[in-house]
């Protein structure tokens, strides 16, 4: 894998909260077009990793390099401008706006029109917004108030927003939580397709092992903040250490739905 050109390169990330060592010495890399799953039981440190990648949380130590540029210590908005889109485990959307307006704001930011004060947003990049919504299968929802959406739809909306800046890297924290099984497969298939077409690297976390094993090119397993296994789906599936962690956690591959 290290021969592939690197899109993202992470080295020696650490983060402690008081006595909790949430992430320990995590290193990995993502290639363009690659779909990498970061899995692990609750509290393993997945979200914390994501937060350090996009600058949400400062790392205690370690380096994050995006396309050759060291982005450690940058603000989330700077990281975004460098081509990293993200979705959140607990969705963060603009609840006082419609679905389309949510996407429009991202487009406004992407086109550097944030300080434009005399034009109507209503006429701003409607087609592009609808195209993005169409990509995630939400064209019918464009005029709906975002506050009314079901959780799974919010997740899809977040994906549309994350795609607004033509990202090179997508960080998706539990993108299919709250969706019906069919929807999950569809959304991940779609994500994979976009990733391949546009050479976008995708890093995602997921508790549904069906989704993970079907769509990930490669898997990293975190436990208590440290990487315990890494490799192709088959390698990880057969790793005794991984089995121990998951069985110990009461979860069995293929039925890992106990997560709330």
């Amino acid at each position: 894998m290290s021969e592939a050109p690197r899109l993202l390169f992470v080295e020696g990330l650490n983060k402690s909260y008081g006595g909790v060592h949430a992430v320990r010495n995590v290193s990995f890399s993502v290639a363009p077009g690659e779909i990498l799953a970061l899995i692990g039981p609750n509290g393993a440190g997945k979200t914390t990793c994501f937060n350090m990648l996009n600058g949400q949380t400062p790392a205690d130590s370690g380096r994050v390099v995006l396309r050759g540029q060291d982005i450690s210590g940058k603000q989330p908005r700077e990281v975004w401008r460098l081509g990293v889109g993200r979705t959140f485990q607990i969705t963060a959307t603009y609840s006082s706006m419609t679905v389309r307006e949510n996407v429009q704001v991202a487009l406004i930011s992407f086109q550097s029109k944030l300080f434009s004060m005399l034009n109507a947003t209503q006429r701003f990049a409607n087609d592009e917004a609808d195209r993005l919504l169409g990509l995630v299968g939400m064209e019918g929802y464009a005029a709906r108030p975002c506050g009314e959406l079901a959780y799974g739809d919010l997740k899809r909306l977040e994906l549309a927003i994350a795609l607004a800046n033509d990202p090179k890297l997508l960080l998706m924290d539990e993108p299919t939580a709250g969706m019906a099984p069919r929807e999950r497969v569809e959304l991940m298939r779609l994500t994979a397709q976009i990733a391949r077409e546009k050479e976008i690297g995708v890093l995602f976390t997921e508790h549904d092992m069906d989704v993970v094993f079907e769509h990930a090119d490669r898997i990293i397993v975190l436990n208590r903040g440290a990487i315990i296994s890494e490799g192709s789906p088959d390698q990880v599936r057969n790793d005794p250490q991984v089995k121990a962690v998951y069985l110990g956690d009461g979860l069995v591959f293929g039925h890992a739905e106990a997560h709330a």
């Binding site: 704001v105 930011s109 109507a120």
Partner: protein, 629 residues
């Protein structure tokens, strides 16, 4: 040398009272998450009640007993307030909590005048501490020495209370993690009530203990609350140690500031606060506060630009308003111009508060700066009116740029406290800097030129500017910038993760709002022909908040409706009664508890409900991707 030491001791004595009040505020906030704006009112009540009791009860026992009894009596009032009012609004957005406690403050201000009269009252000297002690060749009042000792003693007692009693440990646990305490099966209701009572007790005790040092009057509340806000912003809300350290710091800055800048000593405190805010936004001993719990806007349907019909209705309204001079007399036209000016003022606050989610409690600062800007230009530079009107608001812009920069570093209750403190600083400058601002006498005879003179012409001018400003603000609300601003209100996390520099957006919004308020203020100076420190006063800031609230915080056009209704009502009210603050305060409390959506919000809800059967098909039709207008 001796002089400086004595000055230092005087500072320490003031610090003790400040600490008592600030620690009470901090304790209440720590557990209930309510910033009690009425804290100053309880302080003042403590002083008044103590005045009465110490006059009635004789002897040393009577005096000290009176002080403690006064604090207890006020604490009981506090408990009643908590049970009757606050319990209803614990889960409301913090804006409503701030406003409700502010409404209480207004009511108390009129009530004390009603009970004790408008004149300053001089209390008894404390038995045993009547004289002065000679130190370093200077006389130090022995009561000051008593106060100096008292501060640390109270700090020690509080420490023991919070570390050695079951109640104190519960309070600390609740401060750290409210849900956990609820899970432990502690009766949360009574914990909150007792904490509120304890906090009010400290405030009232602080007030009661001031009577030998200071006259009792009905403006004590605002003076102390501003200082206390400065103290908790510097020390960190929720930290008692922080309250102590910051109280000493602020009191000493005041004591020595008088020597350095005798005219505008408050500048020094402001500078220190600014530095602390930059270095440690949550105060010296504070902890970063989680994001505001709830923003206005969560429950509404998305805002929409005016429909064709609404536009026509709006145009008709403006035309009708423009025809007013045909039927109305001079007085009515003056009232009309004032209403138009307040529409501008309310709309500017609405922009910041409803669109940006930043509830400023000191918006009058920029209104007043605009007014003073005009006054300076007209009286000192002697510029023509049109130039003054164009440039006067720039003073509001500069003020908003400077204060806004610091204020937007914070959010929620901190933002409210800080904007209030800034407004009070501007007010103090206008009040104290007599050579430039005329102090309390204001700046007089700023009259419009012929083209705008006369009630009808000035009314038209005000109306035209109001329509232009409100229209422009509305355009901005629906512009990309307006959406970005609303985005920072809805979800900071989302905004930052799609490349939006929230602080820059908010700062810009603050400046826009301040400039618009300044435009209102400029017109106001010409309407009244004069400017006074009152044009910056807290009363005016609160008026603006009430106008927005009355119209509906979560609506686009509420501010306009709110301003018209409120201003018309309050002009009428002032002509009918001397107790307008009492009524106004009551109205605020009532709105918060009973009509949180405001007038326009209620109309919208009602319209949405009557639309309900057809709304489904409308949503379906609207969701067709057809790029329709």
């Amino acid at each position: 040398m001796g002089f400086y030491i004595v000055q230092f001791l005087t500072g320490l004595a003031s610090a003790s009272a400040l600490f008592l009040v600030a620690s009470g505020l901090s304790i209440i906030f720590g557990v209930t998450r309510i910033v009690n704006f009425a804290h100053g009112a309880f302080y003042m009540l403590g002083a008044y009640v103590a005045f009465t009791l110490t006059e009635r009860l004789s002897g040393a026992f009577g005096f000290w007993g009176g002080i403690v009894l006064a604090a207890l009596a006020v604490a009981i009032i506090g408990v009643l307030v908590e049970m009757l009012l606050l319990r209803r609004i614990y889960s409301s957005p913090e804006l409503f909590q701030l406003l409700a406690t502010f409404g209480l403050t207004l009511m108390v201000e009129d009530l004390v005048v009603l009970i004790w009269g408008p004149d300053d009252l001089l209390g008894r000297r404390a038995p045993g501490f009547r004289g002065a002690v000679e130190m370093f060749g200077q006389n130090v009042p022995s009561y000051d020495l008593f106060m100096i000792v008292l501060g640390p003693v109270v700090l020690g007692i509080l420490w023991l209370l919070f570390h050695r009693t079951r109640w104190g440990i519960l309070v600390r646990a609740a401060t750290q993690d409210r849900d956990m305490v609820a899970a432990l099966g502690v009766n949360q209701k009574w914990l909150f009530t007792s904490v509120f009572g304890a906090g009010v007790f400290l405030a009232a005790l602080g007030g009661a203990l001031q009577i030998p040092r200071d006259a009792v009057h009905h403006a004590l509340d605002l003076r102390i609350i501003v200082e206390v806000f400065v103290v908790v912003v510097i020390g960190g809300l929720g930290s008692i140690t922080g309250a102590f350290v910051a109280a000493v710091l602020v009191a000493e800055l005041n004591a020595f500031g008088i020597l350095v800048f005798p005219k505008i000593s408050i500048i020094l405190v402001f500078l220190v606060m600014a530095v602390v805010l930059i270095v440690r936004p949550w105060g010296l001993f504070g902890k970063p506060e989680a994001a505001a719990r709830k923003t206005p806007g969560l429950s509404v349907r998305p805002w929409q630009p005016l429909s064709q019909n609404e536009r026509i209705a709006f145009a008709v309204g403006v035309v009708l308003a423009a025809l007013l001079p045909l039927i109305a007399g001079n007085y009515a036209l003056a009232v009309g111009a004032e209403i138009a000016i307040f529409v501008i003022f309310a709309a500017s606050l609405h922009f910041l508060m409803s669109v940006g989610g930043l509830a400023s409690f000191g918006h009058a600062a920029y209104f007043g700066l605009g007014a003073y800007g005009v006054a300076f230009l007209a009286k000192i530079a002697g510029l023509p009116m049109i130039v003054c009107l164009a440039l006067g608001p720039l003073l509001g812009l500069f003020g908003a740029a400077i204060f806004g920069f610091f204020a937007i570093q914070l959010s929620g209750v901190y933002f409210a406290m800080l904007t209030l403190a800034f407004a009070q600083i501007v007010w103090s400058i206008a009040f104290q800097w007599v050579p430039v601002t005329g102090g309390d006498n204001g700046i007089l005879s700023i009259w419009p030129e012929t083209w705008a003179a006369g009630p009808a012409r000035f009314y038209w001018l005000s109306l035209a500017v109001a329509v232009a400003v409100v229209g422009l603000l509305r355009v901005i609300v629906f512009s990309p910038f307006g959406y970005a601003l609303r985005g920072t209100r809805d979800s900071l996390l989302r905004s930052e993760s799609i490349g939006i520099d929230a602080k820059r957006i908010q700062w810009t919004a603050f400046v826009i709002a301040g400039t618009a308020a300044g435009i209102g203020g400029s017109l106001f100076a010409y309407l009244k022909g004069s400017v006074f420190p009152d044009n910056i006063g807290i009363g005016l800031s609160v008026d603006a908040l009430v106008m927005v609230l009355l119209g509906g915080v979560e609506t686009v056009s509420g501010a306009v409706v709110g301003a018209i209704v409120f201003k018309a009502l309050s002009i009428w009210l002032v002509s009918q009664t001397d107790w307008s603050k009492l009524i106004l305060g009551g109205v605020i409390v009532l709105i918060v508890v009973a009509f949180p959506k405001g007038i326009v919000g209620m109309i919208e809800t009602w319209r949405a409900r009557s639309d309900a059967p057809s709304s489904k098909s409308a949503a379906l039709a609207a969701s067709q991707p057809e790029g329709a207008e």
